[in-house]
Every structure is written in C-alpha cells, then in structure tokens.
Symmetry: C2
Subunit: 493 residues, 2 copies
C-alpha cells in the first residue's frame, strides 16, 4: 500500500489537511478583542511576574473583562447554598445553611430527572425555572404578562444570542442578512456575525449626547445597508456595553416604531438590567415598552431579549447561565428554535439552578432574606460608587473625557492621542489605541481593551475598562492610568 511504502521509505510527512490557507475563512475573520492580544499579553506578564521576572509593577490588574468575582467580589451566599445543596444533597443539615435554601434545593431537585442535577434538563431548560423566570419578568415589568413557554434558558447570554442569530442569518448576495449593531458594540456581535457570514451594519451611538441612540442614525445605517444586503435584524445593548448609557423610554419607543416600519427583528441585549447607577436613569425593558405601546406594535414586532447570571449583582460568569424571552415569534419558527437548541441537549444545569435563585430570591420573613438583601445592596452600591469615581477621576485628566457611567460595568473614555504617537503606532502596524493600551499594560500592569476592538467613530480613540476592582484599588488604578496617560502625551509631544 502507498502508506506502507511511505513509512518504509523513512516517513514522508503528510501536509496538514487543516492549515491557515485551507480552513473556514469565516472563522479567520472572527475577532474578539476582550480576550484578544491584550489579554494574552496580560496572562504572559502574570506568568513572568510569577517566575520573578522584574517588572515596573507587582500585579497585573485585569480591567479588560466584566468578571466581578475575579476582581474580588464575593458570591451571594444564598445562591451558592442552593446550587451546592442541589449538587450534594448530603450536605443538608449543615449549621450554616438556612431552611429556605434547603427547601429551594429540594424543590429544584424534584424537577430534575431522577432527582439529580446530573440529568439532562429539557432543552429549553427546567420547567419550574422557566416559570419562575416568567413570573420575575412580570414583576420587573409591572405586571405585563410573560409566559414560561417563551423563555429559553441558555449557557450565558452569548449562547442565546448566537442561537437566535443562527435562525435569522441566511441568503446570499443582495439577500444576505444584514444586522444593525451599535458602534461601539460588544464584540460578541461582530464575532458571531463574521462566523455566520452575515453583514454587520454599524449605527453610531452619539458620544456627544452621552452615547444616546438616534433614530436618524439608525435610518442612515439602514439605507446604507440596503444597498448591499437585506437588513433583517436590529440589535440594541441597553444598558450599553461598552458605553454604559441607559436608554430613555422615549428612545426605546422610537426604536420599536422604527423596527415596525422597517420590518426588523429586534434583539435586545439587557444583561446589565440590574446595573443602573445614575440618578434619573431607569431601566425599561423592550418587552414592557413594546407591550405597553399596544397594537400594531405589541402584537407584531418580533423581539428576543437576553439576560444572564454573569452580570447584575451576582456576577456568576463561570456558571454560564442565562435566558432569552421571545415575543411574537411565529409558532413554526419557535418550533425550529426548540429543535435547534435540542441538538446541544441542554444548558448547564448548575447555571439554571442558580438562575432560579436569582429570579425568585428570598422573601421578607424568610431566613435568608436579610443576608441576601444586604449582600446584594452592598455589591450594587459599591458599583454605583465606583461608576461615579471612575468618571470623576478620568475627567480630571486633560486629554481624557468620559461620559457618565449610567449603567453596566464599564467606562469607555475617549483619549486624545498625539500625532507622534499615531505615527509610532502606524510604524508598529497597531491601531493607535492598541498602541496606547499595550504601553499602558507593559508599564503599569493595567489591562484595558482598545476602543478599536468595539468600533468607534473614525479618528476617535477610546478604551474600555471595567469598574469592578475594589474601590481602593480602583482609585489607585485610575490614578496610575491618569499619570501614565499624562506621561504618554508628554513623551509623544
């Protein structure tokens, strides 16, 4: 045989089947800045520090990713008790576990196959969790009805967003699906759209008006998009990531009218709905506003909205839990969605269990109530303070300007970059803000993500940083960042 001959001949290696030139080009086009070169270099620096390599800093601070626990936020006790007891029921009776956590674990386990969290759940999630999510949405939305059958649990919001896009993206040439996404955006969207080979249609948020969404700009992006594809979807991130704005009810109504008129499917990424800090800012869900607008909007605009256990006050990123609610979805399409999620069997059950404890928290009078409330409020008020601090300290630095962090977990300040730094970046074939962020990382150990990874108006430069480090550390970080920026400007002036 040919192979035996080759082996006998001393082993002619075969060229790879899968090579950079012969692989799915859509995957090559995917970019995800939050875990891109900056994060990779930060991890390297951490290893080097661990090996005793001298650096101008003693610690790498990862302000690149919305990962609250990694920054020292403590888990909410009740949530973890419930999941731990579900996983290991023999730990019941521990003196530190209150009766309501035990009761909740028992109730949830009764809904699991064979009474075990190790059984697959139904593909859209455990039924009682879907019901608890629906009731939670009704409370959130002042009584606007929600139905368990419209709730699909997921492995974090990313999972559900990609699933929904899979249904929506099709066609080729001029009928290829175009998807309107904000600029700046969370790069999951551009990455997923690159992978699915859809057309990203960016609409610019208005930095001068605190990152507000203008329908006029939506209209511009849409008509520009119509010349090259078939725009079918409008994605909104509210509260904004990376921009931190919280949309007004009026703005949401305008967006819904626009989607109605222009025949767009609405995807509302609302994972930061519990993270609203600024006075005068209130979270309005797209679902509630849509329903309250009445027909023809309420009974025909298709909406999928997304939530997650990774953000809010819980910050349980590692458990990969979340849900989407679908509204006005064609029944046959809903059946297709149900089929599609069944191929991956089910969302991770521990994330589903924790989600249940989040959407149906301890009530007044129950043993866990006070501790739960105290822990939750401590997290949220610390975040509110850090949001204020971040804006304040950044704006004190000439050359940096930062909109108020009304919500979410990030500041997205604009930085002036001197002409000589632009030239130096060009020489290194780096985006100017990548050049800045890399220098910042190498000299201070502070890891933030260049604005170019999220998209920004041409000629402007930004970075995204989280507000998650503990308050004292955050103050230090902001001061170091400010000092470094001043030095950077001086160096390149």
């Amino acid at each position: 045989m040919a192979a035996a001959a080759a082996a006998a001949a001393g082993g002619a290696r075969r060229a790879p089947v899968l090579s950079p030139g012969a692989m799915n080009p859509a995957v090559r086009r995917v970019e995800y800045a939050v875990r891109g070169p900056i994060a990779a270099r930060a991890a390297e620096l951490e290893r080097e520090l661990g090996q005793g390599v001298p650096k101008p800093f003693t610690e790498v601070i990862k302000a690149n990713i919305g990962d609250a626990h990694a920054m020292g936020q403590q888990p909410i006790t009740f949530l973890r008790q419930v999941v731990a007891l579900c996983l290991c029921p023999e730990l019941q009776g521990h003196p530190s576990v209150p009766a309501d956590a035990e009761a909740r674990a028992r109730r949830l386990l009764a809904a699991c196959g064979g009474g075990s969290a190790g059984a697959y759940s139904a593909s859209p999630g455990l039924q009682p969790v879907r019901e608890d999510v629906a009731r939670h949405i009704e409370r959130r939305d002042g009584g606007v009805p929600a139905r368990a059958e419209d709730i699909f649990l997921s492995a974090g919001a990313s999972d559900a967003i990609v699933t929904m896009l899979k249904l929506l993206v099709w066609g080729s040439g001029p009928s290829r699906t175009g998807v309107l996404i904000p600029i700046p955006q969370y790069p999951l969207y551009s990455a997923a759209l690159a992978e699915l080979d859809a057309v990203s249609l960016g609409y610019l948020l208005n930095e001068e008006r605190r990152w507000a969404l203008d329908v006029a700009e939506l209209r511009r992006a849409l008509s520009e998009g119509r010349r090259r594809c078939c725009p079918r979807v409008l994605c909104i991130i509210n509260p904004g990531n990376p921009t931190g704005q919280v949309q007004s009810r009026e703005c949401i109504e305008d967006v819904i009218r626009f989607a109605f008129e222009e025949k767009l499917f609405l995807m509302a990424d609302e994972v930061y709905q519990d993270n609203v800090y600024a006075e005068g800012s209130t979270f309005h869900s797209f679902k509630k506003v849509l329903m309250e607008m009445g027909p023809p909007y309420a009974d025909s605009v298709e909406l999928a909205s997304f939530h997650s256990i990774s953000k809010g006050f819980m910050g349980e990123c590692g458990l990969r839990g979340g849900y989407m609610e679908v509204v006005n979805l064609h029944p046959e399409v809903k059946a297709q969605l149900a089929k599609l999620v069944s191929v991956r069997l089910c969302p991770p059950v521990p994330g589903q269990l924790l989600l249940d404890a989040v959407v149906d928290p301890p009530r007044p009078g129950e043993p866990s109530y006070e501790r739960f409330q105290a822990e939750k409020q401590a997290v949220l008020s610390a975040l509110a303070e850090r949001a204020r601090l971040t804006e304040e300290i950044l704006n004190r630095t000439p050359g940096i300007s930062c909109n108020p962090v009304q919500g979410a977990m990030y500041a997205f300040p604009r930085i002036q970059i001197p002409a000589r730094a632009l030239a130096a970046a060009k020489e290194k074939e780096q985006a100017p803000d990548m050049f800045f962020c890399m220098r910042l990382l190498e000299e201070t150990g502070i890891c933030v993500v260049p604005g170019s990874g999220f998209g920004q108006k041409e000629g402007t430069y930004h970075f995204r940083m989280t507000i998650l480090p503990p308050t004292e550390k955050l103050k230090l970080l902001l001061q170091k960042l400010s000092d470094f920026y001043t030095k950077f400007v001086r160096e390149f002036s």
Copy 2:
C-alpha cells in the same frame, strides 16, 4: 409617520420578519431524533398521566437518551463533594465530607479567578484541569505523552465536536467540505453538518460483522463523495453510538493509514471509552495507536479526540463538561481554535471542576478511595450485566436480532417489520421504524428512538434503546417490548 398612521388606523399587524419561509434553511434541515417527535410525545404522555388521563401503562420509561441519572443512577459522591465545596466553601467541615475532597476543592479554587468558581476561566479551561487531563491521558495510553496545551475543555463533547467542525467546514460547490460519518451515527453529526452546510458522507458499519468498520466501505464512501464535494474529515465513534461495537486495534490502525493516504482529518468520538463490557473487547484510543504507529503517521495525521463527563461511570450530563485533545494541529490553526473558543468566554466551570475529579480520582490510601472505587465499580458492573441481559432477551424474540453490546450504553437491535405494517406506515407518512416506535410508546409507555434517526442500510429497520434502567426494570421493559413486538407482528401479518 407611517407607523403612527397605521396605529391610528386601528393597527395593521406587520407580517413576521422571521417566518418558516424566510429563515435560515440550514436550520430547517437540522434533525435530531434523540430529542425529536418521539421524545416530545413521551413528554406529553407523562403530562397526561400526571393529569390522570387513563393509559395502558402507569409510567413512561425514557430509554431514548443516554441519561444515566434520569434513570436512577446515583451520582458518585466524591465528584459531587468536590464541586459542591468549590461552590460553597463555607460547607467545609461537614462531618460527611472527607479531607481529600476538601483539599481538592481548595486546590481547584486557588486556580479560579478571585478564588471563585463564578469567575470566567481561561477559554480553553482552567490550567490545572488541563494538566490533570493530560496526565490522565498518559496513564490511559500507557505512557504516550500528552500536553496540557493540546487539551481544550468544553461544554460536553458536542460543544467541542461542533467547534472543530466549524474550522473544518468551508468551500462551496465541488470544494465544499465532505465529512465521512458512520451509518448508523449519533445524530449530532448529521445535525451539525446540516447546520454548517457541509456534505455528510455516510459509510456503513457492517451489521453482519458486529457493526465492524470496513476500510473497503470507507473507500467506497470516499470515492462516491469525491464526485460531489471535497472530503476532508473522517469521524469515528468508538465505542459505537448507537451500535455499541468496540473497535479492534487492527481496525484503528487501518483507519489511520486510510486517513493518512487519503488526506483526511480524523475526529475520534471516544465518549464511551470507560463503557466497555464484552469479554475480549478493549478500548484503544486513536491517540495511542497513532503515536505507536510512528512516523509518518504519528507526526502528520491530524486528530481531534473527544471525551465527556456525561457518560462513563459518572453520567454527569447536566453539568456539561468534556474535553478534546488535538494532535498534529498546525500551530496557526490552533491559535484560530483558541480565538474561536474565546468568543464564548469559557466552558461551564462546575463541569470543569467535576472533570478534574474524574481524571484525577482518589488514590489508594486517601480517605475517599474505597467509596469512590466501590461506587464506580457498582455502576460499571451493573451496566455490564444490563448489556448482556439486553442482548440476550432481545435475541430470544423471533424477528428481533441484536448484536452484542460490547460497549457504550445502547442496544441497536434490528427488527423485521411485516409488509402490512410497512404499508400502514406509508399511509401515515412515517418511516416504518418510527411507526413501530410510536405504537410501542402509545401502548407500553416505552420510549426508544427509531433507527431511521441514526441512519441504517436501506430496507433494514432498527431502534436504539439505552441499557440504563435499573436491572429489574430493564428486564420488565425488555419483556414488555418483546411481547409488544410479537403482538405487533401478529396484528400486521
């Protein structure tokens, strides 16, 4: 505005953007029989039983899906203790938790961001878990080296399989990727390939030779495939799902030579590697055989192999954990893989933690050793007994013939279907084995999956059933099934 006018006019509803005729056609083509119409009807019947609707049975037995815990298998104590303590460290010190479980939880938490399982892990997984997996593979493979950097943790094997296929599937027309898959196959493959718009190229396993894999048949399928696409990938399921065969070392060597000669990327689905029951059957990993074959195979055949915490003796489906090992992957492709998995942030951390306890179990002398071994052996020997029983009882029934269940968790018996039943099925527009399985479900409450959902040689009919129900229940189930089949044949003769 137009919309305002419409609203004022009494609300002309908008046609849906996303409709059965205007959605991704690739999603429409996806089929996943394991959770298809049979499973949906079983769930309905369960609800009806719960509401007191009279049925000819008192219980629905779901032998359609490899979900051990749902069938009553108990979780392995040590595994759960480790994960529960990671999630809720304040439960340390409980009298039922041994010191080694506590120590393991502490070691794993030290590797989590902020010491919390709620932090994102690195996208390929927690580093110490990847290292423990690599050492486990070395022990499994008699010392053949494995490297942590080649291990990518995942949300179950399905997740990793689809990720790998995403890199491999590209091109259009005659250069579209063709993927060789066994027939019968686990329908994740056909579903993923439909979604990715690749060409499925079935190669038939040889039922007469206990579902053996013939290289001659591989060659036939390949050359047939080359006429319409570009075959780039060969998928193997060993031990087989749904067919239960365990491949010989010789067969694996032949397959590797074939992949070398024909320039195919090998994907080895080895999730049932711990589930081998038949005397004389031994699991050989593709990795080990490939490495032991030496150059030019060992240094050039690209291989991705897959494992999971959902099967084996642990059966932890709900936690969604698993890993893949890649061998001879081009370094730039590996970087692309790392980038691709980063978009979804990380695999569920509880599943990673449990995986660690699986691949690095208690050692002799440690407090959990004896209980762990006893629980593990109890599960595996019960499965071995059920495998034997299933084959035996099915083969007693005239018209049913079943190959030995050498491994995995399923029997895939062949059934003769009388001509009048074929006609009745045709009238209902059902596949003949779907017709049989639906009747079986309605009359006995036994839920199994028609062979047509896995693919089968034309003119043959099968079903897949799990061997997971507790032994006494399984005997009863098999007897009922046998009686029903006999009655069915009589009815249609």
